[in-house]
Symmetry: C2
DNA sequence: TTGTCGGCCGATCGCCGACAA
DNA sequence: TTGTCGGCGATCGGCCGACAA
């Protein structure tokens, strides 16, 4: 997955460590993210956190939902459990030094889909900022100003949209191609769409699905509560 | 799966043994049906055929394609390999005595779908024999004669079709409900449809997909050729 | 008897400006 | 600036009899 697109989909709160940087691995936090009960019974003493070196970071996206995630390979440091080495998903980090500097922020834009955007009845209302800073330049001299916008999703698949500037008052819209995208990606009102101008010049499109229950509700039982003090 | 529907889908060439009957099991034939290379290396001498007793026969259907198959449990007889017992698919049989007597043949009918049947443009042309002997009685006094035909597929799912007798000259047609069935089952011209009036009075519908390459081509290599004489 | 075709009618899709928040 | 709505033209699905194999 294109790194710029990945970060745009993940959101600004997500910072990923660079390889060779040092992080703390929290087994409890990792276990709680699995939504299953992890059995630590076979391991006598599980420390609350383990200082590790980042071996590798892979930016991935779910094949069906397009949701982004990362696979981080860690090596523990110090004099305990030398050679302990496994791939993990969704690492829990505190060490934010050495993260990838995001000051070279690529131009990106996200919008939460309205009812009108998600209704199969029509197109997508493009905020002016997005049309003017992310999309390719539109020839406003034409009547009406129209172009085809091509964007790659997280899998590299190409999507084409008819981008038109019309109406009174004038506004930017995506028409032909938009409903196909909504249907294929199973988007509903409340989901978000992300447009990114990648470093190589490609226009990329990603999605961020609205939280629909599941996580965020009341705490699920964890055998860790009795072990971790603070 | 309803046994009558299963046999109608499998076709008249397929005869299944009754439990407790005796059959010969051909390891070579079974291995060749797997479409993979079966490694008999770990077994010193594999006999060409093994006399077995049928323990159980299960009539099954693939969850996605609706294609029918059977799972036959065999127990070897004689003084070799007592206790050898495993479930197998698609048993290869020569002993046709003791098979289920098919003289109490339930009324069934099959038709290969034409272009007009499979085109999304329309309905299904019902051969007169099928409409008069398999379908429920139609009230020809009505104008036009119409009824709703309800049929269960191999999974027990219910499908409804509008059955009408119309046109000049008159003919039987399935209209409303037919295209949904074709789309859901992914039927194309050349596939066959099967209608069965089961013993309990239920009308059942099954499908038989046209062979589209794969099997039936040139022989695939088999390590058995060097062992089996005739 | 039944496979294929063109006609035709209603439903849906999707592009549009009006209008207002 | 942009979300929602109703209008409306194009397209598509699907039911029909004509006709011929």
């Amino acid at each position: 997955v294109n790194p710029q697109l990945w970060h745009a989909c993940a959101g600004g709160m997500v910072q990923m460590p660079l390889p060779n940087s040092h992080v703390y691995y929290f087994p409890q936090g990792h276990a709680e993210h699995t939504l299953t009960t992890v059995d630590f019974g076979g391991i006598p003493r599980v420390p609350a956190f383990i200082l590790c070196r980042v071996i590798d970071v892979k930016f991935l996206a779910d094949m069906e939902s397009d949701e982004v995630y990362a696979k981080i390979r860690l090596n523990p440091l110090g004099n305990t459990d030398i050679g302990y080495n496994r791939g993990i998903d969704d690492g829990v980090l505190v060490e934010t030094r050495n993260v990838h500097d995001s000051s070279d922020k690529p131009s990106s834009f996200s919008k939460t889909l309205t009812q009108s955007d998600a209704n199969n009845g029509g197109g997508f209302s493009v905020p002016r900022y997005c049309a003017e800073t992310i999309f390719p330049r539109l020839d406003y001299a034409a009547d009406p100003p129209v172009q085809t916008v091509v964007a790659k999703d997280v899998h590299g698949d190409v999507w084409k949209f008819r981008h038109i500037y019309r109406g009174t008052p004038r506004r930017h819209l995506l028409t032909t191609g938009w409903s196909t995208f909504v249907n294929q990606k199973k988007l509903v009102a409340g989901d978000s769409i992300v447009f990114v101008r990648a470093e190589n010049g490609d226009l990329c499109v990603g999605i961020r699905r609205a939280k629909r229950g599941g996580i965020g509700g009341p705490d699920s039982p964890s055998s860790w509560n009795s072990y971790s003090g603070n």
